[in-house]
């Protein structure tokens, strides 16, 4: 079953070209890196962790309900009735109280997807910059685009063979809705995002 699920997610693996960036904070270490190109693959291979949509967090600890999660958070989490009941609600085991967030997993008529709500660690400019910095020649997979939610919020849509979703910022909280592209469409992702944005 694992293999069948993985096979659905394969797509072209572009030949990569390295552009070495040199920035601050290197100390006494070697900065003169080489530029290299490799023929890493000529068969379809995706990169990154295999997608799964039941467990939002690598350090996840399940809690009984949203109230139990809220007791650990520095912000008020939201859960619109229109998206149904989560299969699982997680908080982070590793986070400090200020870093704490909540992850919700769903598998319903809307699709198989996750919603995370975490204290924002990026600016709006940085969020939108992720779209403009996506370069397929530098390994960027799928499409990274800026979309506008129903309330006018500008959001980042990431659509690939591994997930489809929408990420946005509101009142210091970062929201991310993303799901299995075989069951969850970009249109439904925006519908779910709009439902959360409307009450956040």
């Amino acid at each position: 079953m694992k293999n069948l699920k993985n096979l659905k997610r394969q797509f072209a693996f572009a030949t990569a070209v390295v552009l070495v960036a040199v920035g601050a904070g290197f100390g006494a270490r070697e900065l003169a890196t080489t530029t290299a190109a490799t023929a890493a693959a000529d068969i379809p291979q995706t990169r990154g962790p295999n997608a799964e949509f039941d467990h939002p967090f690598a350090d996840g600890t399940a809690v009984a309900d949203l109230n139990a999660a809220a007791a650990r958070l520095s912000f008020k989490p939201v859960l619109p009735a229109s998206v149904g009941t989560p299969l699982q609600i997680q908080v982070h085991a590793d986070a400090t109280p200020a870093q704490q967030g909540v992850g919700l997993s769903f598998n319903s008529k809307l699709g198989h997807f996750i919603v995370t709500e975490n204290p924002a660690t990026m600016s709006q400019d940085e969020l939108e910059g992720l779209a403009t910095s996506c370069d397929p020649m530098h390994g960027c997979e799928g499409s990274w685009t800026v979309v506008t939610l129903a309330d006018g919020t500008r959001a980042l849509a990431i659509d690939s063979s591994k997930s489809v979703g929408v990420m946005w910022l509101h009142n210091g909280v970062q929201y991310d809705v993303y799901g299995d592209p075989t069951t969850f469409s970009p249109t439904v992702a925006e519908t779910v995002a709009n439902a959360f944005a409307a009450i956040s």
Partner: protein, 223 residues
């Protein structure tokens, strides 16, 4: 309040995967209750893994930072074995992405990246930013070498981890040792413990050898 530890488990083991199918074992480093951490260091020997695949990448072994603890978000550095003609070649690489989708991938040719070489890899947040430097070190006296800097990732901290992944039927036997995490003062600290958080590799599993050392071995267990 009822709290249950929810580890990511994998379904029943299946048949030999195709050369396009990636499978992986991910273990996290514990930081003794510090909170999210700012850097991840793994010492990973380079090993030639047997495989029936004749093209593409065979194996990747990385220091893998789970950005903000969200499994689908990552920045990593490590080595890869790939097919080049009739033999296997080895290279360093860096990579990051969000929602399981790669944003940037940077392979780097390195003459010292050969089987039998003891190597170290780091992913380190640039203090006060959402930028990450990814490094490699062949432990040959030349010191650390920058693979790439990733800017504007949106995240400055996460859960430190180690990853071994393969395509097809490549073997995955591997040590990840001297596992360390970096705190906000840029000091390195040995992991206080290690534990599996994701395993979808058929026929391979992780085992704890010490609080700062895990090994990927043949076996059927999942997380």
């Amino acid at each position: 309040m009822a709290i249950v530890v929810g580890l990511m488990s994998a379904p029943a083991r299946a048949t030999t995967p195709s050369c396009s199918t990636e499978q992986g074992v991910f273990w996290k480093l514990f930081a003794g209750g510090y909170g999210f951490v700012y850097g991840d260091r793994n010492e990973i020997p380079i090993t030639d893994h047997s495989t029936s695949c004749t093209s593409g990448t065979d194996v990747s072994q990385t220091a893998h930072m789970v950005l903000n603890g969200v499994y689908g978000n990552w920045v990593e550095s490590g080595w890869q074995q790939y097919n080049c003609g009739i033999t296997h070649c080895f290279q360093w690489f860096g990579e990051w992405g969000l929602n399981f989708t790669t944003h940037s991938y940077d392979p780097k040719a390195k003459a010292c990246a050969n089987p039998g070489t003891l190597t170290r890899y780091e992913v380190i947040n640039v203090p006060g930013t959402n930028n990450w430097n990814v490094w490699g070190d062949c432990e040959d006296g030349a010191g650390w070498s920058l693979i790439v800097q990733y800017t504007g990732t949106g995240y400055q901290w996460g859960t430190a981890a180690g990853e071994g992944s393969r395509y097809g039927d490549a073997t995955l036997l591997q040590n990840h040792q001297n596992l360390q995490w970096q705190d906000a003062t840029t000091a390195w600290n040995y992991a206080t413990d290690v534990a599996c958080f994701h395993d979808d590799a058929d026929g391979w599993m992780g085992q704890k050898d010490s609080p700062s050392h895990f090994e990927i071995v043949a076996g059927s267990a999942s997380c």
